[in-house]
């Protein structure tokens, strides 16, 4: 099972903790995640289903390449991090 971890700032809003879901693509992994808490979708994706501008997703240490289709592969043993990009003041 792929392991998903979250930035503390997201945990602050939604109280989510580390979760394990089957591998596949970033899209399928996130869809599985959203089944556990539907509110997460609006925090991670925009209205059109793309990754929010200031959210970053890493799979096995690499930033995902496709932020719109979310087609990057996720293995069953992958480590997935949902983080915030640095911005603002």
């Amino acid at each position: 099972m792929a392991n998903i971890q979250f930035t503390p700032s997201l945990r602050r809003h939604l109280g989510v903790s580390t979760i394990e879901v089957p591998g596949g693509t970033v899209r399928s992994v996130l869809d599985a995640l959203f089944e556990t808490d539907a509110r997460l979708r609006g925090y991670i994706l925009d209205d059109q289903g793309a990754l929010r501008k200031h959210v970053a997703v890493f799979v096995d240490g690499r930033r995902i390449a496709n932020r719109t289709d979310l087609s990057d592969r996720v293995r069953d043993a992958s480590e997935v991090y949902v983080l915030q990009a640095l911005s603002g003041g």
């Binding site: 700032s9 809003h13 609006g42 925090y43 209205d47 059109q48 200031h54 915030q84 990009a85 911005s87």
Partner: protein, 372 residues
């Protein structure tokens, strides 16, 4: 009188209440919610006592919260959501919620109905206190909506929503930049209502184009809803015929530029504005914070300054940073510098409530008689 003020700021929602003791009244800090988070708009709905607060989390998008207990606790509720953008669309606007910029109740006989204006330009309606939101497609799908442009923000937005107290099917909105629009049938059809306005920041042959108008703030007199005021990018305009036609109010002192506007709820000739130097220099004229008030429909203005900083002050008042209560006597004004002032006498004098708040986006009174 309204003895409570809600202040939406860059870093939290602040609550101030008027406290009387020994014959002396002061405004005191009474709490903060969402500390550290950008609160873009707040709506105390006096029909049922609900308080709504919109957040714009820098990383995680726009959120909407609702309180049934007067602001002690909030719950997150649905936000307006844009539909899927059709494949091959030539619309350069992202169909994605970027900011909740205005939030207003429907009519008094429409319990739970809310209107929300957003960036990038969608108007939404909720029938049930924000449980669900529906995009007003009759406006969004108009081909001429593509003529709207951003002004300050990258994309256009609806910052003002005026629901006619006589007939809630009659709703006027202000768009930056996209002019004034009116529906008379609850949102089924819309027409531009900016005849008489002009824009000095476009080529001469486009000056009167409806979608080129930049009304920074659109307000309506509750007792005389045919009277509207607009603080426009290049001056003040007033309509006395339900936004059918507009007349420029020229030479407002000390300057024509500004964002905020408020009108007396019972007297359509009285309005307040918070001027700044110019588009290119968004600070008070001569470093002095003033409020410009007219009591004769814009023929003349008083420049009010008692109690406001009169040297080296660089406060700017955003478009939702000035509000008047239901009596028309009490005003509140908040600035980007985090200053908050209240007037008990229609602006003749001001009391400084705080100079240390985060930058202020919006101020609203909450009526004493509100439930909860």
């Amino acid at each position: 009188m309204s003895d409570r003020v809600l202040v939406a700021t860059r870093k939290g929602l602040f609550d101030f209440r008027r406290v009387s003791a020994g014959g002396v009244s002061t405004w005191e800090h009474a709490g903060v919610s969402f500390v550290g988070e950008p609160v873009t708009i707040v709506l105390p709905d006096d029909r049922d006592g609900t308080i709504y607060a919109a957040l714009n989390l820098g990383h995680f998008g726009v959120k909407l919260h609702r309180s049934f207990d007067g602001g002690t606790s909030f719950e997150e509720i649905a936000v307006p959501r844009y539909p899927e953008k059709p494949a091959g669309s030539d619309d350069p606007t992202p169909w994605s919620l970027q900011q909740l910029w205005s939030l207003e109740p429907g009519g008094v006989d429409e319990p739970g109905v809310l209107w929300a204006g957003t960036i990038p330009g969608g108007l939404f309606r909720s029938p049930d206190r924000g449980e669900r939101w529906e995009l007003v497609t009759s406006l969004w799908e108009r081909p001429d909506r593509l003529e709207w442009t951003g002004g300050g923000y990258d994309h256009p937005g609806i910052h003002s929503i005026c629901v006619d107290p006589r007939d809630p099917r009659r709703v006027a909105i202000g768009v930056s930049i996209g002019g004034v629009w009116l529906t008379e049938d609850g949102g089924r059809t819309w027409e531009p209502r900016s005849k008489g306005m002009f824009a000095v920041y476009v080529p001469p042959d486009l000056r009167e184009t409806p979608n080129a108008q930049d009304p920074h703030r659109l307000i309506q007199c509750r007792a005389s809803p045919e009277v509207f005021w607009v603080q426009h990018h290049n001056g003040v305009f007033r309509s006395t015929d339900g936004a059918a036609t507009w007349v420029e109010i020229a030479d407002r002192p000390p300057s024509a530029f500004g964002f905020a506007a408020a009108t007396h709820p019972h007297d359509p000739d009285t309005a307040w504005f918070a001027p700044a130097v110019t588009d290119e220099c968004r600070v008070p004229v001569d470093g002095r914070v003033v409020v410009a008030r007219t009591r004769d429909g814009g023929r003349s203005f008083d420049v009010l300054r008692e109690g406001l900083p009169q040297s080296h002050a660089y406060d700017l008042v955003y478009r939702h940073g000035l509000a008047v209560d239901e009596t028309g006597d009490r005003l509140v004004m908040g600035s980007t510098t985090g200053s908050l002032w209240v007037s008990e006498d229609q602006g003749d004098s001001w009391e400084c409530v705080s100079t240390h708040l985060p930058p202020i986006d919006a101020v609203r009174f909450r009526s004493v008689g509100s439930p909860a």
